[in-house]
């Protein structure tokens, strides 16, 4: 049987801590660095391990379709895409949170005041769900980056975005109104791989769980 594990890694800020975690779990990952131009890394062994380095937002697709058996990706991406994944372990790093933010002069607004406002975001599903759950109707404007620009230019009244330190908000004279949810990196698995490659995946998952809990790997 095919004893090859394919693991999708998010490129960008999550790559470094992910590779460190893999090293701690004694997985081969020599040469996987942010500045490498390779997108696929293969390591022979039992099981043979293959990594795909891709955009964070593409990791759920690779895993859902079974092109990768496992993936390392932020909860922010998972929750926005709503893909059918097996969410195995909270890896704790890559912390950020979804917030509703408004221009500083609107800092005294209540959530209820946002009814029928325009909301710019990279995360339309998260934003829509949040406002709807709070009984609000808003107009969602989906952008692909630099969300903080939208209220400055009058494109939207409000933004929904992820922040970690909150510095970007401050620099653009925005303030956090409400925090929607926290996000950290997760280990996800394909629903079928989890079953058909259980022998390879389960020990790996247990090892990673141990490391996250602060246990020592021998």
């Amino acid at each position: 049987m095919d004893s090859c594990l394919t693991i999708a890694l998010s490129k960008g800020t999550l790559l470094k801590p992910t590779v460190e975690l893999l090293e701690q779990a004694n997985l081969p990952c020599a040469g996987i660095t942010a500045d490498s131009r390779n997108m696929v890394f293969s390591f022979t062994g039992d099981p043979e391990i293959r990594y795909i380095i891709c955009r964070p937002t593409d990791v759920p697709a690779y895993v859902e379709h079974g092109a990768a058996d496992l993936g390392f990706v932020g909860k922010d991406v998972i929750v926005e895409q709503g893909k059918d994944l097996f969410e195995m372990v909270d890896l704790k790093y890559g912390y950020c949170r979804f917030v509703v933010a408004v221009p500083a002069e609107d800092k005294d607004l209540k959530l209820q005041d946002l009814n029928y406002k325009r909301v710019a975001t990279k995360f339309p599903a998260v934003a829509e769900r949040f406002f709807r759950a709070n009984g609000l109707q808003v107009e969602i404007i989906t952008l692909h980056g630099n969300i903080e620009l939208a209220p400055l230019m009058g494109l939207s009244d409000v933004i929904v975005d992820i922040v970690s330190s909150g510095r970007t908000l401050k620099e653009n004279n925005l303030v956090e109104l409400v925090s929607i949810m926290d996000s950290t990196t997760r280990l996800v698995a394909n629903r079928v791989s989890y079953r058909t490659k259980h022998q390879e995946i389960q020990p790996l998952v247990e090892k990673i769980q141990m490391i996250v809990k602060g246990g020592i790997i021998t």
Partner: protein, 387 residues
């Protein structure tokens, strides 16, 4: 330009795909028939009341429309509910068990992607009027036999008994809302949120641990020794016993190499009528399940005819993705010439011998015909000159 498009999630099948499809279907029918299953057909659409009786209130997944008398109609999202209705309407006086199979297109309003269409084909069976582990095992055995008959070897059937999870959940001293939340988290396999959620609830530690572990418990019979809380709960214990007896029956059928005990199989995301043994089939070549089924002892009762039942459905579209057609085709001839009477007689003679014969209805010359089929190495040309 709508006259050159088809609605989202649908597709056309070209001759090769249809041929492949029909062959798979034919093999399935042979196996079903050999086990005494008989084919039934039901209407392509039903009253919404019928569909919702079994499939629950999941209207956004249904294709709904009105008839002119004011009834709300739904394209069938699956076949089991329709067959339960059929049995309740027509078979009250029959002797049981009754064994049925079907091959039908079903419709769900889902986000289309590879292996997930809005119109897709299912073949499946329903065994009505039989309870007990042998009946469950026959149906699972048949699922194994079908996949094998279609040429698949590398597959697993994950089996579970839904009563194990249901009775553990019932033991949690929490509100119905919180129970729904736990169930949902187990179903969507969000283990991270599940353990976080359980941590905040006043659930006994042993029970907490057992529920958190269920979704990843997977393996042979030894799995059943790793659910410690079960001994405290009579219903859960009985469900485990039943699973054990079905596993033994599957050993007797000689198919246990394909069977995995998997506490993570719940199937509620699909349909919420299951009451006992449930199972799903997987192939490592495809990131999606191939088949699924289980026992639904309360469904027929909702149509006024209480009767135990079990069955499964197999997704033909997904199966076609993992199987490649290796069968030899009979020789395929193209017959050209100028004298139709001679050609017709020769064509019929060859067809009688089991060959596939196309007549060159354009009556082309030998040179033209040769040129035309130059790239078609599947065709054998015969040219009959006037003699």
């Amino acid at each position: 330009m709508k006259n050159r498009q088809i609605p989202k999630g649908l597709r056309d099948f070209l001759p090769n795909e249809v041929k492949n499809r029909r062959k798979l279907e034919q093999k399935a029918i042979e196996v079903f028939t050999a086990f005494g299953y008989k084919e039934v057909l039901t209407p392509t659409f039903e009253f919404l009341e019928v569909v919702e009786t079994g499939a629950g209130k999941n209207r956004e997944k249904l294709f709904l429309f009105m008839d002119r008398e004011g009834g709300i109609l739904s394209l069938r999202p699956e076949m089991t509910v329709s067959i339960a209705r059929l049995a309740a309407m027509h078979l009250k006086d029959s002797s049981f068990p009754q064994r049925f199979f079907y091959s039908a297109n079903v419709f769900r309003h889902v986000q289309p992607h590879l292996a997930q269409y809005r119109e897709f084909w299912q073949i499946g069976i329903e065994m009505l009027g039989a309870s007990g582990p042998w009946a469950d095992a026959e149906v699972i055995n048949l699922a194994v036999k079908i996949l094998k008959a279609m040429g698949l070897d590398n597959f697993k059937i994950s089996i579970n008994q839904i009563g194990i999870f249901n009775s553990l959940l019932a033991d949690c001293p929490v509100s119905p809302d919180e129970k729904d939340n736990i169930r949902n988290l187990v179903e969507i396999k969000d283990l991270v949120e599940l353990s976080r959620c359980l941590d905040t609830l006043p659930v006994p530690d042993l029970l907490k641990e057992t529920i958190a572990r269920l979704p990843i418990l997977h393996g042979g019979l030894e799995v059943l020794n790793r659910i410690p809380y079960v001994e405290k709960n009579k219903a859960a214990n009985e469900a485990v016993e039943e699973l054990l007896r079905v596993y033994e029956a599957l050993q007797a059928f000689g198919v246990e190499e394909h069977i995995v005990v998997d506490m993570g199989v719940l199937r509620d995301l699909e349909m919420d009528y299951y009451t006992g043994i449930i199972f799903e089939g997987y192939s490592p070549e495809l990131g999606y399940g191939l088949l699924g089924g289980g026992r639904y002892d309360n469904l027929l009762g909702q149509f006024g005819f209480p009767c135990p039942a079990t069955g499964f459905a197999l997704g033909m579209d997904r199966l076609a993705l993992v199987l490649t057609n290796q069968e030899q085709e009979p020789p395929h001839y193209i017959l050209g010439g100028k004298n139709l009477q001679v050609l017709a007689a020769r064509a019929d003679q060859l067809r009688h011998e089991g060959k596939i014969v196309e007549l060159d209805v354009e009556a082309a010359s030998r040179e033209v015909l040769e040129e035309k089929i130059r790239d078609r190495d599947d065709l054998i040309m015969i040219y009959l000159d006037d003699e």
